[in-house]
């Protein structure tokens, strides 16, 4: 099953030309399924991330916590003198509005969880999308607990906000309420579970444009991180995975002696795995936009990366971000296939019957456009 994306651009130049290819890449309207699936999965990630601090939110994020007002002012004074004391600059955060008012701070925290849940469920996505971004970046504010993976969540939230603000504004003819709040069709993937006769959602230029931005940003992050690793001898020597597997406080002479007999084999496989991971990162742009077997390399690599980062490096958030970033490369027809599979699993019944109306509609659309 394949959607002829170029057939939906009535006035587009030929995609074989440079200009046509550029326009096709950025300004082809696409179904919004991919954007909404990314919203649901990212929303679950945002909610889980913020909920994981429950019980410690005051210690982690308030100006009465680990990083208090006095420390905040010391860092800000340093920033004003062009001295970056903290590992990350202190910017704005809605949490600073609470100052020392703990009740207000608690209301902000629990309210934020509600907003993230509403965004995930697809309620008033234009408004909750903006609020979600404000919430995610506000909770990055504390440099005492700031973690690199947190910044990646801010990136996801940023593009999802833009995508949901733009979707349907040009091509959807929404009502005033729909233009401000967003479409009710977003609600809990309602479009995936709607009957085949339901009114179809128009394709969106905004969804494609936003997803393209996200794709390229993800590519820059993955490749930059890969090239950064090449600046370190341990990565060239193939022993980078050795260190997280041997934490200094938990490794004893006895445990090392048990490994000694097979150290050659251990390092052989560790270095091979590490080089495969590096190759995946650095060559990412070569396969990320390709279909067929390369989808296995893209998504299989993302899953392997996730598992490695969690179980070897004990780091949260990097894995889910890379996986979601890789999912953003799926084309509309691939998302349609995923949607059908999910529908058939959740609702039961054969997939072929639900495929037919889709294929018919695609064919009808293509014929109409040719006429």
């Amino acid at each position: 099953m394949k959607i002829d994306r170029s057939a939906r651009m009535p006035d587009s130049p030929s995609i074989s030309s440079w200009r046509g290819g550029w326009t096709h890449f950025w300004f082809t309207p696409i179904p919004t399924t991919g954007l909404h699936c990314l919203r649901v999965l990212s929303g679950v990630l945002f909610f889980t991330w913020l909920a994981s601090f429950a019980g410690h939110q005051e210690a982690f994020f308030s100006l009465q916590g680990w990083f208090d007002r006095e420390a905040h002012d010391a860092v800000v004074r340093g920033q004003q003198l062009q001295q970056n004391i903290a590992p990350a600059p202190i910017g704005w955060s809605m949490l600073y509005l609470a100052e020392r008012n703990i009740q207000l701070f608690q209301a902000m925290y629990w309210g934020s969880l509600v907003v993230l849940a509403l965004f995930t469920l697809g309620v008033a996505t234009r408004v909750t999308g903006i609020l979600t971004w404000v919430i995610v970046v506000s909770f990055l504010a504390n440099p005492a607990t700031s973690y690199e993976g947190d910044y990646l969540l801010g990136i996801l939230a940023f593009y999802l906000m833009i995508g949901h603000v733009l979707v349907g504004q040009w091509n959807g003819n929404p009502s005033i309420a729909g233009r401000i709040l967003g479409s009710w069709d977003d609600f809990l993937l309602g479009h995936l579970f709607a009957p085949a006769s339901a009114k179809p959602r128009p394709a969106s230029y905004g969804a494609n444009w936003t997803i393209r931005l996200l794709q390229i940003h993800v590519m820059i992050i993955i490749v930059t991180s890969g090239l950064h690793k090449l600046q370190m001898g341990d990565w060239w020597a193939g022993v980078a995975l050795w260190y997280p597997l041997h934490p200094p406080f938990h490794t004893t002479p006895e445990s090392l002696m048990l490994e000694k007999a097979n150290i050659g084999t251990t390092l052989f496989f560790l270095s091979l795995l590490q080089y495969l991971a590096l190759a995946w990162q650095i060559s990412f742009p070569l396969f990320a936009w390709r279909k067929g077997i390369w989808r296995g390399v893209l998504l299989g690599g993302a899953i392997a990366y996730w598992l490695g980062v969690v179980f070897v490096f004990k780091l949260p958030l990097f894995g889910p971000f890379v996986f979601l970033g890789c999912l953003s490369f799926l084309e509309p027809d691939e998302w349609a296939w995923v949607g059908q599979r999910v529908r058939s699993i959740v609702l039961g019944g054969p997939t072929s019957s639900s495929t037919a109306p889709f294929q018919q509609k695609v064919a009808v659309t293509a014929i109409k456009e040719k006429l």
């Binding site: 410690h56 005492a144 991180s225 370190m232 260190y243 200094p248 000694k260 780091l315």
Partner: protein, 248 residues
């Protein structure tokens, strides 16, 4: 499939496509320059290992325009050179001794707390790593000028109190021995802030922070012909950050 259009989409006007192009190119170019402007290294130089700056064009645009006016408000100023890419870091944990009014140690807290859940322990670990970032004290020249009365010329550095134990010591710059390390400014701010928090939380009068750190174990130790002993592995280094006393 409900997500398929029935009618062809309205074509985008030229001005909207131009705006989309300008934003996309400008935004992504700025992100690329942000990544490029990051320092690289450390590389071997005639003066020992040293980081290299990013190219000047990328630095100028990033530091003067895009970071302060665009990325910082958007909270996207990370350059994707992740600290976690450095595999052989120093491991650290710390203990806080809380004292009451009479000066008795009432509680000793250890962080990261092994009983905390994964997410909380991870944040505690970040705090511990923040406290473990020591920096070499700038080496003084061979000839020192007479000491000044200016107290700001004093430097706080790690002094070897006894083998395996370091204590913070403040001395005029010209008296600081070469090859010494000092906690980063960030470590000191963090330690003080965290001690204030614990004193508030537990209603204690004073608190003392002690850091325990250990260098990474190199795989080369396993290629030694003899049996491994604890002495062949890096030793635990105890660093006392000093005491914080609550002011009422």
């Amino acid at each position: 499939m409900s997500n398929v259009q029935e009618r062809p989409p309205k074509p985008l006007p030229m001005w909207l496509m131009a705006a989309g192009n300008v934003f996309a190119v400008g935004h992504l170019l700025a992100i690329g320059l942000l990544a490029l402007a990051a320092p690289s290294g450390p590389w071997i130089t005639n003066f020992g290992p040293s980081d290299a700056f990013g190219p000047q064009f990328a630095q100028s645009i990033t530091n003067n325009i895009t970071v302060p006016w665009y990325f910082q408000p958007l909270r996207m100023s990370h350059n994707y050179h992740f600290k976690s890419n450095h595999p052989a870091g120093t491991a650290a944990y710390f203990e806080v001794l809380l004292r009451d009014e009479s000066g008795d140690v009432v509680k000793t807290l250890k962080f990261p707390n092994e009983k905390a859940n994964f997410w909380v322990r991870h944040r505690q670990n970040i705090l511990a790593q923040g406290l473990a970032e020591d920096q070499p004290v700038q080496p003084r020249g061979s000839e020192m000028i007479a000491p000044s009365k200016d107290k700001t010329a004093e430097i706080e550095y790690w002094d070897v109190h006894e083998p395996g134990t370091l204590r913070l010591k403040k001395e005029p710059k010209h008296k600081v021995p070469n090859d010494r390390f000092a906690p980063s400014e960030w470590s000191k701010v963090l330690a003080q802030s965290y001690l204030r928090y614990l004193c508030r939380e537990h209603g204690m009068t004073s608190a003392k922070l002690v850091r325990y750190s250990k260098e990474a174990i190199m795989p080369a130790v396993l290629f030694r012909p003899d049996a491994l002993t604890a002495e062949m592995l890096p030793a635990v280094l105890k660093s006392e950050f000093g005491e914080y006393r609550r002011e009422n």
